[in-house]
Amino acid sequence: MDKFRMIFQFFQSNQESFMNGICGIMALASTQMYSAFDFNCPCLPHYNLAYGLGILLVPPFILFLLGFVLNNNISMLAEEWRRPRGRRGKDAAVLRYMFCSMAQRAMIAPAVWLSVTLLDGKCITCAFCTSVPVGSLGNASHPRLSQGEIQRLLARIPCKDIYTGQQLIANEVAVRYLRCISQALGWCFVLLMTTLAFLVRSLRPCFSQAAFLKSRYWSHYIDIERKLFDETCAEHARSFAKVCIQQFFESMSKDLVATHCHLPRKAPADAGEAAEKLLGITDQGTMNMALKSWHRCKPPLHLHPPALPTGNGWAGEGQPPSHPSAPRRETAAYYSWV
């Protein structure tokens, strides 16, 4: 148990840093994704806006959901939310704490994507190039073109090689203008997010510290309890399986005794454990029969109490009748003994 205890404590003390690590990795992954992504503005009047805003807003949504999916605690939260009341009340504050801490971590990667996109400028340039103020930035003396033609010309601003509206408005001027707006938006967004994070973090001790300590303790408790329960069940399953298999082998050897009148020779004392471990199955034919029996009819999931040395039975030593009758003749033999 000592090893388990140390491992649990490590995870507990480091669970927060583990989640922070995942959070940081996702933020790095989102910057990497952005730089690997090959941005291709369509340079057509209505498609630009859709493409630009799509690239700006859809990946953050995906990253947000991914942040929840990768968080192990989401299933814990769902379980705690949906469980029947039973003998233990539910505390809404704990659920809120768990949800808030998960949501905060999941918001980091989308925020990074949005900031990087805005600071780079390509998306906004693509999306809003048709809204550039031609009157103030461009050539007012240019011969009048229809609105549609102007839109088509302006839509080509992000694609420098096919841009033909140099007389209307210089490409570099428009790109610089749009990029300046985009970067200003980006920095404002980052400032806003940082201010929000700062306020959330620093106002909490001023207002609800006691409630916070309580929620944090119980949310850690629920997590630890779930892990310990899983561990205990795994240990139980292991013991169950061990005893079940042992009983299976014992019943096989008793079966052989009953049908073949084949007394397992009691090994001399010095052969010791090895002979015991063989459980009376000492030749190839017998082993093959045991393996076949294991495959054809596995024993029921019901462990017998171990054999009494004196054979003194007691009332109540009965099989629960609800069990599927396994074809085990030795069962009857066992109980006829009593």
């Binding site: 140390m6 404590q9 507990q12 003390s13 469980r83 029947p84 039973g86 003998r87 233990r88 600071l119 780079d120 400028g121 930035l137 210089a170 570099e172 001027v173 610089r176 203008y177 990029r179 300046c180 970067q183 200003a184 920095w187 980052v190 400032l191 201010t195 994070a197 700062f198 973090r201 620093s202 001790p205 001023c206 510290q209 303790y217 850690h220 408790y221 630890i224 309890e225 310990l228 329960f229 205990t232 069940c233 240990e235 139980h236 013991s239 169950f240 061990k242 005893v243 029921p300 999931l301 019901h302 462990l303 109490p305 171990p306 009494l308 007691w314 109540g316 030593e317 009965g318 629960p320």
Partner: protein, 301 residues
Amino acid sequence: MDRFRMIFQYFQSNSESVMNGICGLLALASVKMYSTFDFSCPCLPRYNMAYGLGIMFVPPIILFLCGLILNRQSLVMLEEWRRPPGCRKKDLAVIRYMCSSIMQRAMVAPVVWIVVTLLDGKCLICAFSGSVDPKKFVGFANVSTEQVQQLLAKVPCKDDELMRNSTSRKAVSRYLRCWSQALGWSILLILIIAAFLARWLRPCFNQATLLQARHWSNYIDIEQKIFEETCCEHSRLFAHKCILHFFESMRQEIKLHSFSLPREGEGAEGEEDLLQGITDQDQVNKLLKTWYYEKPPLDVS
């Protein structure tokens, strides 16, 4: 417990160095951010000033707030400031000490950004190209006043078609860059002298109070860490007991309902103890169902 002791000693001796490390990382991050940031001056009359000064001052605010958020001690200080006095008096000197050390560390990254920006020069050229006196430069001296603003605004953009080979543009650019770098180096010099004086003169004033404040601020930090560790340990033990009680109560229930006494003799194998009397598929299923539908109460008395 030995391991805990070693870990605690590590944290105690290194809590200052952890914070210094974070501070240094933020400073490096600010330099990296500046070099990866693609500075593009809009080269338009009113936008230049807004853009240039914005890039010079908004990221430092962000870096300052980040420095406060990432510093664990700021939370500790806030908690100490806002807690009810209870049985323990509050010492304002300790809170002031913690506050000043947090602020000093948080100011490093913004200062690095501002200094790097000034030494590089692009921001100042962008912001103040429209404010130079055009009469000092040959290319702009004879231009009308409406035009001159437009032309000066285009100075930061080297590749603009009007400015590509203009010697006056280069002259204005060099002039502004010289001012920018002078400002940058002066700020750096002043700050380093101030830090030097503060560090050297501090022992002359109130050394005893300082030692006390530092000791108690370390103490508060460690106390909080140990409290959290103890809570974790406690919740683990609580959960352990709760689960054992649960298995025990399931065993009793099974005993009551099915009259099959689990064997508890000397002959019992060690595994039987671990099985806790639950030896049947139905019993296991019932246990798991009960765990979901009726979790045991949080009471291990």
